[in-house]
């Protein structure tokens, strides 16, 4: 089972980033951003709407390659100055996906830990106006062994135990912080606190025995 994290970062005002500059200048999203580095300096490729003015300043160093539908593919040789994607890769993390809109780079990253994300965000601060996390996922993807199902036999519970457990759950007794305390649950069920405690302990004990069984 895998145990890494996925995060999406918004990098506003990235320095040395022609594609971000283009998206801002042309007011068009830039998609399908990829690169290769066969001979030293990376050659970067991206797509932008074919209606974008080919004389745009941000396209001065980019060469049109072909049209795909209503988009045009450009390529350019990336400079040696640090850019956001270079910074991420220099820390040993590939950039899984890049999107650009309104001058903001949106990077999707897969990392082995949240600590690595903290390091990347700190380094990106040096090459952008602002860096923010949009989401953080720390879970194995479904279908990749991320589930651990078991069968819980609710038939072990008496009718009264089910009623007590269900009422406590519905009132928010198990939320954190609690939305209902034991007194409120006991009053709802019209039973004493000790009776509530006994029913809950018995019910939880039975269910947890199934949940925690090896």
């Amino acid at each position: 089972m895998t145990d890494g994290v996925r995060a999406e970062l918004a990098v506003d005002g990235p320095s040395n980033c022609p594609v971000a500059a283009l998206s801002r200048e042309a007011d068009e999203p830039v998609t399908e951003v990829t690169w290769s580095r066969a001979d030293g300096a990376p050659v970067e490729e991206f797509r932008v709407g074919e209606a974008v003015d080919a004389d745009a300043a941000a396209l001065a160093d980019a060469d049109p390659v072909l049209d795909v539908g209503d988009e045009r593919v450009y390529q350019f040789t990336r400079g040696t100055d640090d850019c956001a994607c270079e910074v991420v890769e220099s820390l040993g993390t590939p950039v899984a996906d890049v999107r650009v809109a309104d001058g903001t780079l949106v990077l999707t990253l897969h990392m082995e830990s949240v600590e690595r994300l903290r390091e990347i965000v700190a380094e990106l601060d040096a090459v952008a106006d602002d860096v923010s996390v949009r989401y953080l996922v720390h879970a194995a993807a479904e279908g990749e062994g991320g589930t651990d199902r078991t069968v819980v036999d609710r038939g072990q519970l008496t009718e009264r135990q089910r009623e007590v457990l269900g009422t406590a759950y519905e009132l928010g007794y198990f939320e954190y912080p609690r939305e209902a305390n034991a007194t409120a649950v006991a009053e709802e069920l019209d039973i004493g606190l000790s009776a509530l405690a006994e029913h809950l302990a018995a019910a939880q004990g039975k269910l947890l025995a199934d949940v925690l069984a090896e």
Partner: protein, 54 residues
């Protein structure tokens, strides 16, 4: 399906969506941006995952 939460740092402008396990990790290690201690009060339940994370 793991539940989702909106995280709002108590000490810095960081605010983003997290799943259940990421929530637990932030409770352990603090805010990604500023390192501030994070408590359960920093999280509110979301109905759905962020669109780009779905």
């Amino acid at each position: 399906m793991s539940p989702w939460y909106d995280f709002t740092c108590p000490d810095c402008p960081a605010a983003f969506a997290v799943d259940d396990r990421a929530r637990e990790e932030l409770l352990d290690i603090g805010c990604i941006r500023c390192g501030a201690t994070v408590t359960a009060a920093a999280f509110g339940r979301r109905e759905t995952a962020p669109p780009s994370a779905a």
